[in-house]
């Protein structure tokens, strides 16, 4: 057993040494760009770090930005473990907010200990059902999930805007004037603010959603690596043929995985609404948590604990960006650093693909031999 855990750690390190190196290199290359803009990289990075981490308020803000990214990152990672590319986290996030506000209004008279679990569940369910659509289409008809999820992102956005304008508008529900946002959640539907619990967080708006996010990562880890469901989902993700052979239903697992993935994205929306915004605004485009989630999952190597770390990194970048701007460094630098990290890590994925390719070559006969030429 001793040996087992040791090799586990070695495996873990193997998995994460490259992302760490990529991050380091990205900052190194980023500094070249900073110099090109006529600035001092040390000043820039100091601003980035201090702006996101010096002082509990700032750390609080960083964690606030991290929270939805953990959820969407987990969401995409989970689908990925089943071999699915869920580009629809964005739409599932939006539907999550819609369900949360709706449930918050319907059950507005319930006390907080009941109402909060209800609205979070509603948000998760909304995202889950929204994601189940491409799941079912893929499982039953073989329609590729990428296409369906992309399309459903727009559908989700416009559908939500529609409800905000109509049935969820304060003008409809509360006889107020027409507003550009939905009804506002009551106090009893709101997650506690961290600074109320721990004054040390000062002026930050961090809410207890962060705990739910971290818990979700552990739940997902447990689900993936300790349950038969996770075993089946991972099997289908790595080799659907062998799964079928082992009596595992591919279509059931695709639907399950999409549903759970959608629930995680839905929770991103639910916690954001119930912890920070308390309402949803009409928007011409969605907030982008779903898309950033793809990068988060990629950098976190689709591992729940990796996602926690990488969401934090993206949270730091997002929050430190402001301070860097104040220090006179163009905020695009942060975008560049993010981009480089992603390129490196995606590059590693390609590198890893090559020996695999070669293995495939070796297995087969002359086709491969010709392929070498």
């Amino acid at each position: 057993m001793e040996k087992t855990t040791e090799s586990r750690w070695a495996q873990l390190w193997d998995n994460f040494k490259f992302p760490l190196l990529s991050i380091f290199l990205a900052f190194l290359i980023g500094s070249i760009f900073i110099i090109l803009t006529g600035n001092n990289p040390f000043v820039a990075y100091y601003a980035l770090i201090s702006g996101s981490m010096f002082g509990m308020s700032r750390i609080g803000e960083t964690l606030l930005k991290t929270t939805p990214l953990i959820f969407t990152g987990l969401s995409i990672a989970f689908a990925f473990r089943c071999g699915l590319f869920n580009i629809g986290a964005e739409g599932q996030f939006v539907i999550g907010t819609l369900f949360t506000v709706t449930a918050g209004y319907i059950f507005r008279d319930l006390p907080a200990p009941l109402l909060i679990p209800i609205i979070l569940t509603a948000g998760a369910l909304g995202g889950g059902l929204w994601a189940a659509i491409p799941g079912v289409l893929k499982a039953k008809l073989g329609v590729h999930e990428v296409i369906v999820t992309i399309m459903l992102n727009y559908t989700a956005l416009f559908l939500t805007n529609f409800f905000i304008r109509t049935s969820l508008n304060p003008s409809t529900l509360q006889g107020d004037v027409q507003k550009a946002h939905s009804v506002i959640l009551g106090e009893n539907a709101r997650l506690s603010n961290m600074s109320d619990l721990m004054p040390i967080f000062g002026s930050s708006s961090l809410h207890t959603g962060i705990f739910i996010a971290v818990a979700a990562a552990f739940v997902m880890w447990f689900l993936l690596y300790k349950t038969t469901m996770g075993y089946e989902i991972r099997s289908v993700g790595s080799n659907p043929f062998a799964s079928e052979y082992g009596g595992i239903s591919i279509s059931k697992n695709i639907i399950k995985a999409m549903f759970i993935s959608g629930m995680l994205s839905g929770l991103a929306g639910a916690t954001l609404v119930s912890g920070l915004t308390f309402k949803i605004d009409q928007a011409p485009a969605s907030a982008g948590y779903g898309f950033t989630g793809i990068a988060v999952a990629l950098v976190g190597k689709n591992h729940p604990l990796g996602v926690l770390a990488s969401a934090l990194l993206f949270g730091i970048l997002a929050n430190g960006e402001r301070k860097m701007q104040i220090a006179g460094i163009p905020k695009e630098v942060v975008g560049i650093i993010q981009g480089i990290i992603i390129i490196f890590i995606a590059g590693e994925a390609i590198l890893q693909y090559f020996p695999d390719l070669k293995k495939k070559f070796r297995r087969k006969g002359p086709k491969t031999e010709v392929a070498e030429k």
């Binding site: 057993m1 040996k3 087992t4 090799s7 300790k226 349950t227 038969t228 469901m229 996770g230 075993y231 089946e232 991972r234 099997s235 790595s238 080799n239 043929f241 062998a242 799964s243 079928e244 052979y245 082992g246 009596g247 595992i248 239903s249 020996p355 070669k358 293995k359 070796r362 297995r363 087969k364 006969g365 002359p366 086709k367 031999e369 010709v370 070498e372 030429k373």
Partner: protein, 517 residues
């Protein structure tokens, strides 16, 4: 006289293997020289260098005593070298003539002179006694025919040195015999032939000399008359092997699996099983023999729930399992060694531990109420690895890290440890080394001896004849003959495998009558 081909100290390195390690090889004028070695020994790699598909990492090649640098197949063709690959490279919708001339087409102006092409093909086909129909379309002709086309194609381009890579793998025994005759006719005309194989019997039947390679290294070059199957086996594997399967006679029990008039389609919705009927009894090995592509793959898929049949009936131990789910079929007590271990048998990125419970992952003690019990799984897997001698550092490595033979052993272990009532073994020894073959055969017989039903589907006639109590021959999606294993002859099976009928041919060939039934 200089050697036709002389390869000196050829080394070929791939990123993580040395496929050839200072291999020497010589070919004499007019000989059939067998290159013998296990799967992965480096035979194909060595010949691909002679044919210019690979460049040697180091070493020299001489043709008729002259040092040459074969950069690509065109150079090789220029030196009169032709190669027929293990997997044919014909254009399926084209005719025989079109395929043969492809790459060196006779032209009329800029237009293809198809008349001349057909005449040319007829001419060389007569010259070498390789009868083909120039106008037949490739996908309509048999594999044996396709092979002739490949050989003709090489000859058409002026090959004096022919390399045949495992040409017999896809042929019936009769076709193998014909190939032997063709090869001798070619050497009589002064051609020299290199024949790659891993089958010992062919070596003895067909070769003048043999070069054995093992793990990329030369072992020995022997003259046919001075060697034996046993010696070659030992050289090939590196230790003494027992090629015989010890099998005591045994009375079979009651019928377990009954298949009647089974029909199904392949992936392209073309009927492949066209009314297949047979049964398997407890305590017997029923082998399905046949040439590749006659419905074996689909038959096994249907029996194991991986493909939905169209019609017919399948009963197992009295229960209807027609169109049953794989999960339920496993539940019934049917284990399955799949023909493609990498595609079906293993999840390559999972550990051996996780792979050893594939299919029983929902059973106690491996899981309970949906929670996996990994300590138990690991313990179980270690036991399995020990008992079936799977060579691996531990149960924690990914399945992809194992060699083919060990991957196969893991699958066999998993399927047998489930203690099934019936085992369906599809090509259980394909691509594994002789040592592992010996082991797997022993285990199959053991199952039978313990009163289990074994359905063996194999393309290797030797395997079928060594193991089977009864042999069912499949041809064009139906069982066309059933022969007692102990009484079967290769010739008989060959006739059935080619779609012939035993009674008719027996009458034709006087004296054979009444040998079966």
């Amino acid at each position: 006289m200089p050697h036709v081909v002389e390869m000196k100290k050829i080394t070929k390195k791939f990123p993580n293997v040395i496929a050839n390690d200072e291999v020497d090889f010589t070919l004499e004028q007019g000989e059939i020289h067998v290159l013998l070695g296990e799967n992965g020994a480096g035979k194909t790699t060595l010949m691909n260098q002679l044919y210019g598909l690979y460049t040697p990492t180091s070493g020299e090649i001489y043709i008729h005593g002259k040092k040459v640098d074969i950069k690509d197949p065109n150079v090789a063709i220029g030196y009169g070298i032709g190669m027929v690959h293990q997997h044919f490279m014909l254009v399926e919708p084209f005719t025989v003539a079109e395929n043969i001339i492809l790459g060196s087409e006779p032209k009329k102006g800029i237009r293809l002179d198809i008349e001349k092409a057909r005449a040319d093909v007829r001419e060389i086909s007569n010259l070498y006694g390789l009868q083909v129909d120039p106008d037949a379309v490739i996908h309509d002709i048999t594999v044996g025919m396709q092979q002739r086309v490949e050989i003709l194609k090489a000859l058409y381009r002026g090959a004096e040195i022919l390399i045949l890579d495992e040409p017999t793998a896809v042929l019936t025994p009769q076709e193998i015999e014909e190939l032997g005759i063709i090869m001798h006719r070619l050497t009589d005309q002064g051609k020299s032939i290199i024949l790659i194989t891993h089958k010992l019997k062919e070596v003895m039947a067909l070769s003048d000399r043999v070069t054995v390679i093992r793990r990329g290294k030369n072992v020995e070059t022997l003259v046919n008359e001075n060697t034996s199957v046993d010696q070659l086996a030992e050289l090939m594997v590196g230790r003494k092997v027992n090629l015989e399967v010890d099998k005591m006679p045994r009375e079979p029990g009651e019928v377990l699996l009954e298949v009647e008039n089974l029909k199904c389609h392949n992936n392209r919705k073309v009927p492949v099983l066209k009314g297949c009927s047979f049964n398997v009894r407890a305590g017997e090995i029923l082998a399905i023999a046949g040439v590749d592509g006659n419905g074996q793959t689909e038959l096994v898929e249907v029996l194991t729930g991986l493909r939905k049949p169209e019609s017919g009936s399948i009963r197992f131990a009295g229960n209807n399992i027609f169109k049953a789910h794989t999960k339920d079929i496993i539940e019934e007590g049917i284990s399955h060694i799949p023909e493609d271990r990498q595609k079906r048998g293993l999840v390559m990125s999972h550990t051996l531990a996780e792979n050893s419970i594939l299919g029983s992952h929902k059973k106690e003690p491996f899981s309970k109420n949906g929670i996996m019990n990994y300590p138990k799984i690991h313990e179980y897997s270690r036991g399995l690895i020990a008992e079936f001698d799977v060579r691996t550092p531990s149960e924690n490595v990914a399945a992809s890290a194992l060699s083919g033979g060990n991957q196969q052993k893991l699958i066999v272990a998993r399927e047998l440890m489930r203690d099934p009532m019936m085992l369906i073994a599809s090509q259980p020894t394909r691509g594994v080394d002789v040592g592992a073959i010996e082991f797997i055969h022993k285990r199959l017989v053991e199952q039978r001896d313990h009163g289990k039903a074994v359905l063996l589907v194999s393309l290797e006639l030797d395997e079928v004849m060594a193991l089977a109590d009864r042999i069912a021959v499949i041809y064009d999606g139906a069982i066309v003959g059933l022969v007692e294993g102990s009484k079967a002859t290769e010739r008989e099976l060959g006739i059935l495998m080619a779609g012939g009928s035993l009674n008719k041919t027996a009458e034709d060939k006087e004296g054979d009558h009444g040998k079966n039934n």
